[in-house]
């Protein structure tokens, strides 16, 4: 099945770079469930802009380092 979103992310790598932050800890910091963090990491869910900013802030990285969107049109 095709991925439901074209947004990709580096959350997993950035979690480890941010002191091995667990999915549960990140979820607590941004007020989401752990399952939603897993879904975002696996590209099954695109968070709202507000949550995206909260995730980037929790990981100590700029938004575009956390989330990417392909340049070319589909």
């Amino acid at each position: 099945m095709a991925r439901p979103t074209r947004v990709t992310n580096n959350i997993r790598a950035l979690r480890f770079a941010a002191g091995e932050l667990t999915q549960a800890e990140l979820a607590d910091q941004v007020g989401m469930t752990r399952q939603t963090i897993i879904a975002i990491e696996q590209g099954r869910y695109s968070p709202s802009l507000e949550v995206a900013f909260r995730i980037a802030r929790a990981l100590g990285a700029p938004l575009e380092q956390v989330f990417q969107y392909p340049e070319e049109e589909s």
Binding site: M32, T33, R34, Q35, R44, Y45, P47, S48, V51
Partner: protein, 150 residues
């Protein structure tokens, strides 16, 4: 598995079992007894009541099971039981919208049966079937969104 997805599974199982028993009991009489003489009211009220009660029991059992599992295995968190984030709300809303369309179509069907002067038995059962199908489709849409994304 997210708590809300587990709830959708509980709802689906309860709906299939209760509605299955109801229709097996009531529709089994069609053909043997004229539709107007089938005493479906009591069975339907029991089915609706049983669905509500079983859903409540299922939610309580699920919450206890999730809490025990979090304590014993360390998987998941007790906080997940009452935490609902924007993804849960969004998926819930998608399921509700689909349920609305199914219910609307079913209501039009029941309206048509009333206009064609079918027995109350068929109109009531068409409406009950509408609720059952709406619940199943809504749960299916939610489970699909949780599993494969939206």
């Amino acid at each position: 598995m997210p708590f809300e997805e587990k709830m959708s599974w509980v709802s689906m199982v309860v709906t299939v079992v209760v509605a299955g028993l109801y229709f097996a009991t009531v529709l089994g009489q069609v053909g043997e007894v004229p539709a107007a003489d089938i005493a479906y009211q009591r069975s339907m009220l029991i089915a609706i009541g049983a669905s509500i009660v079983l859903m409540i029991i299922g939610a309580i059992a699920l919450a206890i099971g999730t809490a025990v599992s979090a304590e014993v295995t360390g998987e998941g968190s007790v906080d997940d039981i009452d935490r609902k984030d924007e993804r849960d709300v969004s998926i819930g809303r998608r399921g509700d919208v689909v349920a609305f369309y199914v219910t609307s179509a079913g209501a039009l069907g029941a309206l048509a049966l009333a206009m064609l002067e079918y027995e109350y038995f068929w109109i009531a059962n068409a409406l009950y079937l509408t609720f059952v199908v709406a619940a199943l489709v809504s749960d299916g849409v939610k489970i699909r969104a949780y599993r494969w994304g939206m």
